[in-house]
């Protein structure tokens, strides 16, 4: 297309093969800007399908496209306006053994328009390995940013610590909730216990936790002895028990909101300093019914009204009935349900369960609207911020490919102008790589603080390596002995995987070498021991990135000054932060590690917004 760019730049753009990862809010806008700038060869990959709530900003999609693959519809919509470009659409995840480093190498440039950390981290590593420039982008409400990542020249996506998802100790969720979010997490766990994928269930995350250190005194043992009937036997088979009683709402209600609560009450030590819960009987609900006053201003949105106890119980029964029917109908196919905030019954179930449990524990109840935000970790998103970020991405794409890398800067879209009046605020310079980064530095190392007598090899593989460090196909070697303890190709017996790390010789000071075949990413894990015996809220491990240590120990003044201060002065207004266009998957559950997080769904796929 003629018009703006010089013909020499245009001829480069026409020849360049671009990979766009994500056809959501930012992706749609990037695709349009790329084509309008003169790019002709674009591959777009997205594993997501279109939802109604996308339509307020993902302008390439319309109501009749709901349920269809984003990448394919985006391609078709663009081609109607610009028929002479070549777009290849992939309806699949970018995290895929088939899409290795050599596949990435075919592109001149990769653009991330993603909504979750796991996929961003993966593409970051693939581009570093393939030595392909990566443009990374994200928005959060009114704010956003676009940045260039080139190996050796700039920071990589993992040079800066990411905000960790909020996690909650299992005991808090199962025994002593004190905030609405605890009840919401519990309710999502209950959904999975009743309807989720059985292989992924792991240990019970709903019933009272008898291993609670605070309840381990005489009282708990006494309670165990007297209450073994419903306390221990049913917790092993919540699903089977629910099936046997045909998901009868009053029966389930009785177990979860009366029996289990009675059992918790019998763990007297728990209630020495806490307000004890009140077990609730199904038949008593009508008598307890009350009027709930709601915020009149926003009464317009039905979901923003608080429900009375009676309404919650009615919704509980109704949604349970519907979910049961749906669960039975999928027995010949998927065999399980996936919790989805946009599924009416699943959302109704979590709202009502959460509010009933909140009633029992005397915690503030929430509207369905608010619970949806928390349970689904909804990030607000608007067309305008996405359009501006996408445009900044494409400005940089043109710079990179026309040999003008030096002109590229991380640019922030701000909600309000900074002290210099900038709404779009660029950094002063390209930001150099961090020497402490465990991915892109020459000394790649992280520290793992871990209870080596408790954490099993399986937990190490799934929770530490895959969920926390985002590796895909790891081979794990103990440096001292060169003993390989885990590879991604071999199948292992449970007996082997369930052994704690200490049995493999892992101890204080051990260096564990991790090599990921797909990402061709290699780093060391330095072990320091922790002991969680008797600690109620401690998790079995914590990954400590060396960049994290540095960030908390000394706040680098140079870094604070780099955000567009030509005059070098510091100004507190200028605290633009990296924002993520996060989603549900940012909050993955770490079920095995005595800790529950918001999104408890066993979600194998990585969604792209």
């Amino acid at each position: 297309m003629a018009g703006v760019l010089s013909s020499s730049v245009l001829s480069v753009l026409e020849k360049s093969q671009i990979l766009l990862v994500g056809a959501g809010g930012i992706g749609c806008e990037v695709l349009k800007c790329l084509v309008q700038s003169g790019f002709k060869n674009i591959e777009v990959i997205d594993m997501d399908t279109i939802d109604v709530s996308n339509l307020n900003r993902q302008f390439l999609f319309r109501k009749e496209h709901v349920g269809k693959p984003k990448s394919e519809v985006a391609k078709d919509s663009i081609l109607q306006h610009y028929p002479d470009v070549f777009i290849k659409a992939h309806f699949r995840s970018i995290i895929d053994s088939d899409l290795g480093v050599s596949w990435f190498k075919q592109f001149a440039l990769v653009i991330n328009a993603l909504d979750n950390v796991a996929a961003r981290v993966h593409v970051n590593r693939m581009c570093l390995a393939a030595e392909i420039p990566l443009l990374e982008s994200g928005t959060h409400g009114y704010e956003g940013q676009a940045e260039l990542i080139i190996k050796g020249l700039t920071k990589c996506y993992e040079c800066e610590p990411k905000e960790k998802p909020r996690t909650f100790p299992s005991c808090t969720i199962r025994n002593t909730p004190s905030e609405p979010i605890h009840c919401i997490v519990w309710s999502k766990n209950l959904f999975n216990q009743l309807f989720g994928e059985e292989d992924q269930l792991g240990e019970d995350s709903v019933s009272p936790d008898t291993a609670d250190p605070e309840a381990s005194g005489g009282a708990a043992n006494a309670a165990l002895a007297t209450n073994a009937g419903d306390g221990l036997i049913t917790r092993k088979s919540t699903r089977e028990w629910a099936k046997e009683c045909n998901y009868d709402p009053p029966k389930l209600f009785h177990k979860f909101f009366h029996e289990d609560i009675q059992y918790l009450l019998s763990l007297h030590d728990l209630w020495n300093k806490r307000k004890p819960p009140k077990p609730l009987k199904f038949e008593d609900v009508s008598a307890l019914d009350e009027q709930v006053t709601s915020n009149e201003n926003d009464i317009c949105l039905k979901d923003q009204r608080l429900w009375s106890l009676r309404e919650n119980v009615d919704v509980f029964c109704e949604s349970l009935k519907k979910l049961r029917e749906k669960f039975i109908s999928v027995q010949d196919t998927e065999k399980f349900l996936i919790w989805d905030k946009d599924d009416k019954n699943a959302m109704d179930f979590v709202t009502s369960c959460s509010n009933i449990r909140s009633f029992i524990f005397d915690i503030a109840r929430k509207s369905r609207y608010d619970i949806k935000s928390m349970a689904g970790n909804i990030i607000p998103a608007i067309a305008t911020a996405n359009a501006m970020v996408a445009s900044l991405v494409v400005f940089q794409a043109v710079n990179v490919l026309s040999g003008n890398v030096k002109a590229c800067r991380t640019v922030y879209v701000r909600r309000e102008p900074n002290h210099k009046g900038e709404i779009l605020a660029p950094e002063r310079d390209l930001l150099p790589p961090k020497p402490t980064c465990f991915i892109c530095s020459s000394n790649p190392e992280v520290t793992l603080s871990v209870d080596v007598k408790k954490l099993t090899l399986k937990q190490f593989d799934e929770d530490v390596l895959k969920k926390s460090l985002n590796v895909i196909e790891p081979e794990v070697t103990l440096s001292e002995t060169s003993k390989i303890i885990l590879t991604s190709e071999d199948e292992y017996e449970d007996e082997y995987l369930n052994r704690p790390l200490s049995e493999f010789g892992v101890k204080e000071g051990t260096l564990v070498y991790v090599d990921d075949f797909l990402q061709t990413c290699k780093f060391y894990i330095k072990i320091t021991e922790r002991n969680v015996e008797g600690e109620r809220e401690a998790s079995l491990f914590e990954v400590i990135r060396h960049a994290d240590i540095k960030a908390t120990q000394d706040k680098d003044p140079k870094e604070a000054a780099t955000n567009g201060h030509a005059d070098g002065e510091l100004n507190e207004d200028d605290d633009v932060v990296m924002v993520e266009n996060g989603d549900d998957n940012d909050l993955q559950t770490c079920r095995k590690r005595k800790s529950e997080v918001i999104d408890g769904v066993p979600d194998k796929k990585v969604k792209i917004l």
Binding site: V4, S6, S53, Y82, Q304, T384, V394
Partner: protein, 330 residues
Amino acid sequence: MSVDQNCITEEEAELYDRQIRLWGANVQRSLRNLKVLVIGLNGVAAEVCKNLILSGVHSVTMMDNGNVSKEDLTSQYLLYPESIGQNRAQASLKAAQVLNPNVKVSADTSSPLDKPISYYSNFDVLCVTKQLPAVVVCLNDICKLYSIKFFSGDSFGMFGYLFEDLPDQKSENNELCSSFSSALNHQWTPKTSLKKRKLEDPSYLVFKILTDFRSSNCRDPSRSFEENDKRVLSDLRNSVLKSFNVEDDILPEEYLENVFGEYGPTCSVIGGMIAQLVVKSLSTDSSTSYNLHLFNHLRCQLTGMNFILSSQSKDIIPPPVEGSVVELEE
């Protein structure tokens, strides 16, 4: 209108969920009553229309009396290859309407100058693009008359600007009012702090050169007349530097290299920011500190400035054309 009728429906709550969670149900209700007129259906206007239609305003009227050229297609998403030769507003109608069937979208093929002044009182928001600066000033004045929210913006190739004038600004302080003509006719004196700023960012000079180009040539710089236009731009650059009494190296030549036609990504920035300011103007706590935003395309920096027309000059700046210009908030 009764409260019930004005309630957000289930369908709307679902469709607009991600933005209601950001700006709240009240702003969404105000949006639903908002009548928008967009003049000049080029790239920036198409982005404004797209973003506001997606957000769920009451209506968008697209006004343009020109026809679609091949060049328009590169930056105006609402057009199709077969639109060439058709009226720009008419040709944009189909793609604009499918963005959101809840919004009333219409096309008007007349020129803004053909309309009686009272016509504009039908709208809450006016957004002007691709008009001669004198026309923009005139429309700005009409909006003041009817307390209509006024926006204008353009992409000159990669460079871009947008201007905002909200009626409330005047009522806060009767002496001062924002106007496009004050932004356009700003006088350069060593006393203005703008001089300090321009050492970092020469965007205002680029804005001046390009609006002068449009005023005197009745068109924008184009690759079709590249040789000629480069020469004209170079002359304008010299005269602007001279009139502002600043050194040659303040404005590197490269700032004028990619200012031809309209550029899609710049339209996204300008059109995105205009739409965002429209939404912002609906929230009760909206305050505007800048009325002119300049997009420095070499740095991807969008910087606000404030130009205010004062009846009593408080500064010692020699009065320019109409009224005196003081610059606040620097």
